[in-house]
Symmetry: C2
Subunit: 380 residues, 2 copies
């Protein structure tokens, strides 16, 4: 018997309360009970996004909402800028290309955070840039970009919006959509929202809606304007993801009971313990700066294949984490601590890493990393 | 206490086995267990679609796959033809417009089936038409279009494909993708597949893939080529809908155990009993010809508001069915018998209709419709 554990940076663990909520009989999306459910969920999403604007719910993965965040705001030939510091930064570039957007890349070394000044400089050079695309948390490298600083730069420009992929950031660390000026904030269900994949969310500021008025790209399924019209009436333009919404209602209840500040503090505490524990086990972290509290990315020690760590975690210990993508394959492994996680997810991850590395012949003082994490996670 | 029953034409009832499968802990979409699950599901989908071609699975509702069935095959300025005999036929027209496709409408009176000859004539007039879009089952009117006859017309043209919306048809009645030449067949999870909303499916013929080579519309999230590449390796381009796929595995097992011929025969038998029962209760059916076996659309008797029937079914008897859309609002009501349905869903629907109409002051001989249905549904 091998017990199974999920510590991948999405999909993440789903609490039993949420799994059970989704196993309820199907609710019809045109019945009045649905409108009541959706009204509640929409309010709670605004709370989570820290916004007074509408948060739209879409039936897709996060990538669908990212697509909509390009196609709904820009026309072919429009100019944009995107921060590319990893796999998901790259995706903004690909999306812009697909929709004929002329996008300037701000290239960031994988493992580093964008220097906001480089974005400010690039924007100054080109007043025609209508949108800046960035990740709040770049899942491929484990780095958090300072989107608050980016917002300060962008908000002074009357016709430029900031679009933030918060897929592995929302519900992990503080993101104040309205206060900071994060015009468009994209999230997905299968991360800190503790749900299976299948729903995406996007908040849209008034400034962004004004830009949307002029946009000429094709957007049908991901037509934000049409969704806003429907969702303001607690309906959806197409069929709603009713079962996932029942789960979302439950997950949001749990988050609200914990309190937003406590949710962020929990993630910060777990992430800190994970990082310090890994270091105490003799490992080094991949991010050179600004590590995201969503996941810890560890560099494979010299002579150790990162994919072997990932593989042995799963095969020997039942733990699904993640390896590296593209040129980082074999060089890193990634362990999530977002969503439905607590002290012992972190302890387990560090213990298993110590054991796997030992098994691979890499010298580790067993218990050293775990001891450090225990110290940091002691109940007060 | 009001027990709740779901007889709407999607989402439909989900069997408890499927609900429980989806309540399992999350499976990671990059783990080897996922590839095994997806390989099985992909094979079973081919069986259901009666095709040897790939059936792609997307995380969206059926509308997302419909969008992809336009954007992946046609370029702006290309010519298409669409059959518009209801709300969903209309959608093909809107999608074509969104993607700059020059689409000829074959208008069909709501409640009637398309005369294949009109399509043949329209095609003859314009050899540049690259794609014909139609519904196998038009959910807004309850009419089945003869897509087999359309396929016979289209298949002789080397560069024209037939795209069929089978969202309320697949798993209800016979649709032989390969044998008949249904080049692109679109389906959704929340109908006869007995799942919650959230997955869409599309099979694509070689002829359609050839057309896709030349298409120039933007398609990122719904990029069929990219999905085919990934799915042929039992992966998905973006995050997979893992929980719904576990449910799908279970639903496909149930359908396979019943056998495709038996699944179709069950739907035909239930649909026939529903129609004859409604007629025996003194009602008339809305479709003038070719009623779909997915749902029965009943005309509200003169002096009775169809919306009141729909509303009272729900409020007095706990049954969620559906009313009419657009200009049919108030004139019809719609009751589904697709998916996880048997004898007593039909009996219940007819009994409740008799009772609701009586309550609304319309004279009905109580039990007359039910008696007719019982006669037709007697176990042999």
């Amino acid at each position: 018997m091998l017990k199974r554990y999920l510590l991948a940076p999405g999909p993440t663990q789903v609490p039993p309360e949420v799994l059970l909520a989704m196993a309820r009989p199907i609710l019809h999306h045109r019945a009045p009970e649905f409108a009541a459910l959706f009204a509640e969920v929409r309010e709670d999403l605004k709370w989570l996004f820290q916004t007074r604007n509408d948060v739209l719910t879409l039936v897709s993965t996060g990538t669908g909402a990212m697509e909509g965040a390009v196609s709904n705001f820009l026309s072919p030939g429009d100019k944009a800028l995107y921060v590319n510091g990893g796999k998901f930064g790259e995706r903004w570039g690909k999306l812009c290309k697909t929709f004929g957007v002329n996008a300037t890349e701000v290239k960031v070394e994988w493992g580093e955070a964008v220097d906001p000044q480089t974005v400010a400089d690039a924007l100054k050079k080109d007043p025609a840039i209508k949108a800046v695309y960035a990740q709040a948390s770049e899942t491929s490298t484990g780095v958090a970009h300072d989107v608050r600083a980016l917002a300060e730069i962008v908000r002074s420009r009357e016709d430029t919006i900031l679009v933030v992929d918060a897929i592995t950031a929302l519900g992990v660390f503080d993101l104040r959509a309205d206060e900071w000026g994060l015009d468009v904030l994209v999230a997905g269900s299968q991360k800190a929202l503790m749900l299976p994949p299948g729903l995406a969310f996007v908040s849209v500021s008034e400034k962004a809606w004004r830009l949307a008025e002029k946009a000429k790209n094709a957007a049908f399924y991901f037509n934000f304007k049409k969704e806003r019209e429907a969702q303001q009436k607690n309906q959806t333009a197409y069929t709603a993801g009713v079962s996932l919404l029942l789960g979302l209602q439950e997950a949001l209840k749990m988050l609200k009971a914990e309190g937003l500040g406590n949710v962020f503090a929990r993630h910060a505490r777990l992430a800190h313990a994970m990082r310090e524990g890994m270091k105490a086990a003799g490992l080094s972290l991949f991010p050179k700066q600004s590590p995201s509290d969503a996941l810890t990315v560890v560099s494979a020690p010299s002579g150790v294949d990162g994919q072997a760590v990932y593989k042995n975690l799963r095969e020997q210990y039942g733990i699904t984490a993640a390896g590296g993508q593209d040129h980082l394959k074999g060089k890193i492994f990634r362990i999530s601590h977002m969503g439905y996680v607590d002290t012992f997810d972190v302890i387990q991850a560090i213990a298993a890493t110590e054991m796997v590395l030992t098994g691979l012949g890499h010298p580790v003082k067993l218990g050293a990393g775990v001891g450090k994490a225990e110290e940091l996670l002691l109940a007060k």
